[in-house]
Symmetry: C2
Subunit: 150 residues, 2 copies
DNA sequence: CAATATAGTTCTATAATAGGACCAGTTGCG
DNA sequence: CGCAACTGGTCCTATTATAGAACTATATTG
């Protein structure tokens, strides 16, 4: 009755969810995108149990999504910083954000916003074809592992 | 000791994860994108326990991500079809896929691919500014709920 | 109309999470 | 310097969630 795992799946979606698809990892990564770096900051901001946070941070470090670096304030403590692999999760977090914005808020309800450096709200995520044309779900299909090109 | 919830959070990422951030929901949605619609198809493809699947499908219907429709083969059974809200999860699933492709496969390891109708692999997800310029994480910031525009 | 397929529900054992107690090293302050 | 508070954990227990199997009702096939 061990929790089902997908670390060996053919499907990259399954592997990604196996790695970071638990209840906390993406919220920790979101906080890291917002500039949080210290154990206590994550703990306070998320209201997560310290044992959970410890386990998740260690797993994220092991996955090379976060790395331990010396504290930026010169103290003897350490901080958790996003790696390139962690920063590559940006589109995933933005995707969740935009879906949440579009479907989970009543009109006028308060929420945070993602803006660019000038304060302008960002646009919607776009999936381009190789030639740059925007693709919708119905323009795509999944080619199974090992399937020959035609 | 009830599982922490984020249904009322200010942050759309937290709300989105509260709704569909469990171990199974996004895999079910991925399968739906791949064309699966029947209870038994999901169950066979995912290897999920039937009780879990039943609970997840009901929750996804309640969230209006899936809807029950008459079976397309004319039988008396029903099928689970993606709603517009469900189809809007496409960028999230693609984001997870692209992150998994980039970071969770050894060179040469078999995996499925997302291609367009001509069989060409799709491009990377892009976050455009209002003016169409592509934005990276470091070009953006989160404006907290209720913060005044400047 | 009997056998099998579909779509579940219910039950139990195991695994994961929440919350708190506890603890060692670091820092701030008088 | 000396002590209190802060930081960053570990460990333990109660509760919740998940996996897997057994069971059931309705639909379909032969």
């Amino acid at each position: 009755m061990k929790r089902t795992g997908f670390a060996k799946a053919d499907c990259p979606v399954a592997r990604a969810l196996d790695a970071i698809g638990d209840w906390w990892s993406l919220l920790i990564v979101r906080d890291a995108f917002d500039g949080l770096r210290r154990f206590g900051d994550f703990q306070k901001n998320l209201g997560i149990a310290k044992g959970m946070l410890s386990a998740r941070l260690h797993k994220l470090v092991e996955l090379d999504v976060l790395e331990l670096v010396p504290a930026s304030d010169g103290s003897a403590y350490q901080e958790y910083a996003l790696t390139e692999r962690g920063r590559d999760l940006f589109p995933v977090v933005v995707g969740l954000r935009q879906w949440g914005e579009a479907h989970l808020y009543a009109r006028g309800e308060a929420r945070s916003d993602l803006v660019d450096q000038t304060g302008q709200p960002v646009g919607q995520l776009v999936l381009p074809s190789r030639t740059g044309r925007p693709l919708a779900w119905s323009d795509t299909k999944v080619r199974k592992a090992g399937a020959r090109k035609r």
